[in-house]
């Protein structure tokens, strides 16, 4: 019966130790095991290639052979659950963190996290960024209770490694921002796609905390308290920069019971 045959075929695709499905014709030229092996190879290679497309810097850091071994281990442990592969790499950074042979590149999982954030930003919903003039004429009191809707593509990550510098070094770019390749300087990354292009920035830790608070729904006044530190930039310039890079897509007054976007 087809359901049983299909189950045996499916099991053999991920496990090279298993025989193929029963009843494969030993016809012309090549034995059944070679024929099953073509499908197995197609499945594993196709999914590894899909991962490589999403994690090109990880692949560069470890080389193709290591990447293929790591990716095929991931594919066998976590075959995709959806025919939409755009987000198949979501669990790959965590897998890398637990993949012992990768321990020699301790920042690998965090670089993977940054690349996954880029992929998510690339496919995120579109939204028109708001200009800072949207805040014009608001009283200080009203300003502090506004909630900012961050752009749907915005992703944040923090690492104890200079992941932004490492990533930039693999784009043929000069590393900018925090880190500069120093081994023990961590990076906070802000990933954003305000238009056609995904942008990766290193931001100061207090700015990272400020944006994270906004993302969690904190009113502006409360979120700005994260910048009340000696190493933080001036709050008004941090806020202006956030609008300038296109990270804000909407505004709502938390005072109003129903969340309502202001006219821009």
């Amino acid at each position: 019966m087809w359901p049983e045959t299909q189950t045996a075929f499916a099991a053999a695709l991920l496990d090279p130790m298993r025989e193929g499905p029963p009843g494969v014709a030993e016809d012309y030229g090549r034995p059944a095991r070679d024929r099953v092996a073509v499908y197995r190879n197609n499945v594993i290679k196709g999914l590894c290639d899909a991962l490589r497309d999403g994690f090109p810097v990880v692949a560069e850091l470890v080389g193709d052979e290591f990447f293929d071994a790591m990716a095929s281990a991931f594919v066998r442990a976590h075959p995709p659950a959806s025919p939409v592969l755009l987000h198949y790499g979501r669990d790959f950074p965590d897998f890398i963190a637990g993949f012992e042979p990768a321990d020699v590149v301790p920042y690998l999982a965090d670089v993977a996290g940054l690349e996954q954030a880029r992929t998510e930003a690339y496919h995120a919903a579109d939204a028109e960024p708001l200009g800072i003039d949207a805040l014009q004429g608001l009283s200080d009191e009203r300003l502090s209770r506004m909630r900012l809707d961050l752009h749907p593509s915005l992703r944040l990550m923090a690492s104890e490694w200079p992941v932004v510098s490492i990533w930039q070094a693999h784009q043929g770019l000069d590393p900018v921002g925090a880190g500069s390749g120093l081994p023990h300087t961590g990076d906070c990354a802000l990933v954003l796609r305000p238009g056609w292009t995904v942008e990766v920035r290193a931001v100061a830790a207090p700015v990272h905390a400020f944006v994270r608070a906004l993302g969690a729904g904190a009113p502006l006044g409360e979120a700005l308290e994260r910048l009340d530190r000696a190493d933080a930039p001036d709050p008004s310039s941090a806020l202006a920069e956030l609008f300038h890079i296109g990270a804000v897509a909407g505004l709502a007054d938390t005072h109003n019971e129903t969340k309502e976007d202001l006219p821009c």
Partner: protein, 279 residues
């Protein structure tokens, strides 16, 4: 598509060539699964391409040949794309790719029996009902056959088309690959293929896998130019089916836009010569 033209698969690396240039290609095809994100450049590019060209959605994720139920969420996503982009053609494969919740990202072979014919026809019916339009089903490239098969592939496909009213996508490279892999005659396969429902033709390059004793398996790799024997088989197919929209599939080791368009131009020239011949 008034006159049958050649088209190409739309690839992200060619977005700029297509959107900023003036491509002579007749139409474009995409895998809908690559356009099922929430937004971003792929959907924006596809919308702009669709403003200027006919579009074909060529699915790889419905698992028509599987024993299990179709994925309703995936059907809904496909329907949303069909409604948004109003494609000229929608197609899927006579193959399976999902089993018990796992997606294998490959087009896997099934036995051709009364039992599997029932599954396939029910699934094709479901898709056509859900989308509210007929779809085309493509003949697969296969590397193995099942002893339990009681139908030939061509008879199975003809009966599927008869029962469901679906159209067919004749992949000429798949015909060549499968026939070589199973020791069959590709021209004989074409003669037995039901040509009336054919609404589209595919052409692609294939790879060779040779065992130590020299025995060959062809792999439907879509990673190079169309092979000469496949071009000649294409001419045979057109003589049997008449001119049909023809796609150049090139999904791996994708060349520059100029090379890809040159392949499509070759198909266009063969289509035009055939049309003159008929006239």
């Amino acid at each position: 598509m008034t006159r049958a033209r050649a088209g190409v698969g739309l690839k992200p690396r060619h977005y700029a060539d297509v959107l900023e240039g003036d491509p002579e290609t007749g139409w474009f095809e995409v895998h809908p699964e690559n356009y099922m994100g929430d937004g971003g450049p792929p959907l924006a590019a596809l919308a702009r391409v669709r403003e200027r060209f006919p579009l074909s959605l060529h699915g790889v994720g419905l698992s028509i040949g599987g024993a299990g139920e179709l994925d309703r969420d995936h059907l809904d996503r496909l329907k949303a794309l069909v409604e948004r982009f109003e494609p000229a053609l929608v197609s899927e494969h006579l193959a399976w790719s999902t089993h018990q919740g796992q997606f294998f990202n490959d087009l896997l072979a099934l036995p051709y029996t009364d039992e599997t014919l029932g599954h396939v026809c029910r699934h094709v019916d479901q898709v056509q009902t859900h989308l509210g339009r007929p779809i085309l089903i493509e003949n697969p490239a296969t590397y193995l056959r099942f002893q339990e098969s009681t139908w030939t592939e061509t008879d199975f496909i003809a009966e599927m088309a008869r029962r469901t009213g679906c159209g067919l996508l004749l992949d000429v490279n798949n015909v060549f690959v499968s026939c070589i892999n199973h020791g069959d005659d590709p021209v004989d396969y074409l003669r037995r293929f039901p040509m009336v429902p054919v609404g589209e033709i595919h052409l692609a390059g294939h790879a060779e896998d040779r065992a130590e004793d020299g025995a060959l398996l062809l792999i439907d790799a879509h990673d190079r130019a169309v092979a000469d024997p496949v071009w000649s088989l294409y001419r045979q197919a057109l003589s049997l089916a008449g001119p049909k929209p023809t796609l150049i599939e090139w999904d791996n080791d994708i060349p520059d836009w100029h090379t890809l368009q040159a392949e499509a131009a070759q198909a266009d020239a063969i289509l035009a010569a055939g049309a003159r011949h008929v006239a």
